[in-house]
């Protein structure tokens, strides 16, 4: 009985220690942006949506500059009417300058250490000024959710590989992988994915244009998407192939002889064809043209990776997984640039439309 009373008393007293955060008494930061000022200081931009009772959403933008990133977060609170919380953070944007000059690890690390931030928070690099981007009104929506949705549906159904906090840290810390992040751009009042930023450790070394994303994704993973790929057939004819499924296979049998073959296979449907008649011959030509085109792009891409010494495709990781004993990562890094990496494509067109 004594124990029970003690328990009840404890429960009542301890409940005072719990810090609550009632949903309408806090400001939830949904997107955070970082850029570098000219005098070398760090500028942080946080956007918290204000949901009005009539259903409208107003985005409050907080901008603070400081020497280190941790200071920024406490400064935000000084200009906010309600405490800012980060549990609903959906996206972190870094300016290209930071990605190129300082690396993003220091800024990303704070996100990872905060237990309330989910590991599915997206990361992105912005080509344009993050402040301008986050100050833009995208309509009656929460800015963070808006940009997050663009990235999310593109990595779920489109050509963008997944690039969230978890992926970034996995590629950053694991041997034989290098992270990459989407590159976004503000175009008037829209945000657009303009490519992929390739990082070496946490610094940007190179970027891929949006046109290469299809090829990159074929090289990178198995996927199926709603996107289409247009191939030039020559003579003014174009065919648009709607991708059903793509399969990638890394052949590591000849790794001892420094040879890696990546085989890609795409199953596709012809969505649009500008030529006259679509017969078997034309279909074969389309298949072949597309194969050649993708192979060429892919090979160039791989060459570029090797030159830069980055491995966004995770080949090192794949080799590590078939290596017996200890995998010597330093040795691999030296070997990587000289390895002969082949890329073969196979395109199969399974349907050519219902008109037939």
């Amino acid at each position: 009985m004594k124990l029970r009373i003690l328990l009840c008393v404890c429960m009542l007293i301890l409940s005072g220690c719990v810090e609550n955060s009632i949903v309408d008494d806090i400001q939830m930061v949904t997107v955070i942006g970082y850029e570098k000022t000219d005098d070398g200081k760090l500028k942080g931009i946080a956007v918290a949506p204000q949901f009005q009772a009539n259903g409208n959403v107003e985005n409050s933008v907080f901008v603070e500059t400081a020497q280190i990133s941790k200071e920024i977060r406490s400064q935000f609170n000084t200009e906010s009417p309600k405490p800012l919380v980060s549990g609903k953070l959906q996206l972190a944007i870094y300016s290209k300058k930071i990605a190129e000059e300082d690396g993003i690890m220091e800024l990303t690390d704070t996100l990872q250490r905060d237990p309330s931030i989910g590991s599915r928070t997206f990361l992105a690099v912005s080509n344009s000024d993050p402040e301008a981007m986050l100050r833009t009104n995208f309509g009656n929506v929460d800015t963070g959710h808006y940009i997050h949705s663009i990235l999310e549906h593109n990595s779920k159904y489109g050509m963008l590989p997944e690039t969230n906090l978890h992926n970034f840290f996995y590629y950053y810390f694991s041997e034989g992988n290098d992270p990459f992040l989407p590159l976004i751009d503000l175009e008037e009042d829209k945000v657009k994915i303009t490519g992929l930023v390739l990082l070496k450790k946490d610094k940007m070394v190179s970027e891929l244009p949006a046109d290469d994303l299809f090829t990159f994704k074929i090289l990178y993973e198995n996927f199926s998407s709603n996107d289409s790929y247009t191939t030039d057939l020559g003579g003014g004819d174009h065919a648009s192939i709607y991708n059903i499924a793509s399969k990638r296979d890394i052949d590591l049998k000849k790794i001892k002889k420094n040879k890696i073959t990546i085989n890609g296979k795409v199953l596709g449907v012809i969505k649009e064809y500008t030529g006259e008649e679509l017969n078997t011959k034309v279909k074969e030509k389309i298949e072949k043209d597309m194969e050649e085109e993708v192979e060429k792009k892919g090979r160039e891409m791989i060459e570029k990776f090797q030159e830069e010494g980055i491995d966004p495709l995770g080949l090192g990781n794949a080799v590590r997984s078939v290596t017996r004993g200890k995998f010597d990562y330093d040795e691999w890094k030296q070997r990587y640039t000289d390895i002969d990496i082949k890329f073969n494509m196979e395109v199969v067109i399974t349907e050519s439309g219902v008109i037939e």
Binding site: V23, D24, F51, A53, G55, V85, G118
Partner: protein, 497 residues
């Protein structure tokens, strides 16, 4: 057994020193206005009749007692027994018997005003209502008979359904003043004798002045009196009671109560409506799953709302966030007060509706539901999201087929709310653990209450959360530890060959 103790007690009360003989007793009874007495000389020999006119069927008295007596020239008590065409005539000089019987509709006939010996002729009047339709457990298909306030009729309704000699009825009387007749029914050779003895023991240990209803008996014999959960099923359907008997349960009926108690029972049985057995097993199982879901929903949804909005904003999906936040934007109260305000107003409505006459009650429901709900949202006291949640939770709690359990479900939401406010989801989990521990400790007539979930008895799952087809129900529940476990042979029913 108990009859004896009752008589001893009677003697103490009605036979203080002055009531030593019959004439004194009759003199005492005459002080009641409805006690009639007259002298008749129709037979040639004078005889005296005494009775309570409110207890006796006077038509029967003149047709079956006075007329035959005149016809046969009855002259002695032995002649009465021979010539009056009513069975069960007692000739006695035991004052306590006379006293007891006259109070339940017997006539006293005697031939001498001084003698102690008299004849007692049963001629009780029956003004209990007719067997009517079940109101609480109404089913569209199936029997439309419900128990009434007369014990004999109730036992009849069960005996009619189980015309076997194994159906035993153990009778006893409880209540110093009410003398309520209680009957324990069970099937010999099927029902576990231990269960029957438990019931008998517990009933015999009740020593109170009045038993108004079976519910009172239920409260006295229930295993854990401090639990909000009912541990015996009460039903107004004779078919449910009969079917419980066939399973091996014990049924308790009492005079003046249109409800039978069934035990031992399990937690999941409270969520099975009797209609589940009348419809196809798929439909029945779906209905049961919906009810179980409704219970969980009803208990947990408001606490989850409070917990999430107070502590766990991260858990709210981004698409829902704007709806939730904007609905709460103008509300000055924290989620817990908002929730308690609404939950209490729903409880108020229910209570007011239950206490008022039907017609007024409906008006209250409409006024309360629509006017108060809408007004409180417009006044900015509660959010409309919560209003929907609370209304749905209240609705869900009414899906529980057993009324008592429905009340409990509505009640245990409040501790959950408190815990949700104090510690968020952790509190909800904590409270749920407390609830689970409590349920695990509960027993129904000494049998585990949470069976077949814990202790896990896979075979009993055939009729628990879901109801499998009838040809799967070949064994009686293990819970009841029946003496004969087999209900029927499955093979003999299989004609699809």
């Amino acid at each position: 057994m108990c009859g004896d103790c009752m008589f001893q007690w009677l003697k103490k009360r009605h036979n203080p020193d002055k009531l030593k003989n019959l004439p004194q007793l009759i003199a005492n009874l005459k002080t009641s206005g409805d006690f009639l007495h007259f002298k008749s000389e129709k037979t040639g020999t004078a005889f005296y009749i005494y009775y309570f006119k409110t207890l006796v069927n006077e038509k029967e008295l003149s047709e079956k007692v006075i007329e035959p007596m005149g016809k046969h020239k009855v002259a002695s008590l032995a002649d009465v027994k021979e010539n009056v065409p009513i069975p069960g005539i007692i000739i006695t000089d035991d004052l306590s018997v006379v006293c007891e019987k006259v109070m339940v509709g017997y006539l006293i006939i005697r031939f001498s005003e001084v003698s102690d010996e008299c004849a007692l002729i049963p001629s009780p009047t029956d003004i209990s209502r007719k067997v009517a339709q079940p109101e609480v457990e109404f089913t569209v298909v199936g029997s439309k008979e419900a128990f009434v306030e007369s014990l004999d009729k109730n036992v009849h309704l069960i005996r009619k359904r189980l015309p076997v000699h194994e159906l035993k009825a153990y009778e006893l009387t409880i209540g110093k003043l009410t003398h309520t007749k209680v009957v324990v029914l069970y099937l010999e050779g099927i029902t576990n004798q231990e269960n029957v003895n438990t019931v008998k023991e517990r009933l015999n240990s009740i020593h109170v002045d009045q038993v108004v209803d079976n519910s009172i008996i239920m409260q006295y014999i229930t295993d854990d009196k401090n639990s909000p959960f009912p541990q015996l099923v009460d039903t107004e359907r004779p078919d449910r009671a009969a079917s419980g008997l066939c399973e091996g349960k014990v049924v308790i009926l009492s005079e003046g109560s249109p409800q039978a108690l069934l035990g031992p029972t399990t937690f999941v049985e409270f969520f099975s409506a009797f209609e589940d057995y009348f419809v196809n097993w798929i439909v029945a199982s779906t209905a049961r799953l919906i009810r179980i879901f409704a219970v969980l929903f009803s208990i947990l949804v408001t606490p989850l709302y409070v917990a999430t909005l107070t502590y766990h904003y991260e858990l709210i999906p981004s698409d829902l966030l704007s709806t939730l936040v904007s609905s709460r934007q103008q509300i000055p109260l924290p989620p817990i007060l908002e929730a308690i305000f609404l939950e209490l107003s729903i409880e108020l409505l229910r209570e007011a509706g239950a206490r008022l006459p039907t017609k007024v009650g409906q008006t209250i429901g409409i006024v309360g539901g629509i006017v108060i709900g809408t007004a409180s949202v417009e006044a900015g006291l509660t959010s409309n999201v919560l209003l929907i949640i609370v209304a749905l939770a209240a609705l869900a709690s009414f899906t529980t087929p057993v009324y008592r359990m429905g009340n409990t479900i509505r009640l245990i939401r409040f501790p959950f709310l408190l815990f949700a406010h104090l510690w968020g989801l952790l509190g909800v989990v904590l409270c749920f653990s407390f609830l689970l521990i409590h349920l695990l400790r509960l027993k129904s007539l000494g049998r585990p209450f949470l069976e077949p979930i814990y202790p896990l008895r896979v075979k009993d799952l055939k009729d628990a959360l879901i109801r499998l087809p009838l040809n799967f129900q070949t064994k009686r529940p293990i819970q009841l530890q029946t003496e004969d476990t087999v209900r029927f042979e499955k093979d003999k029913n299989d004609f699809h060959e």
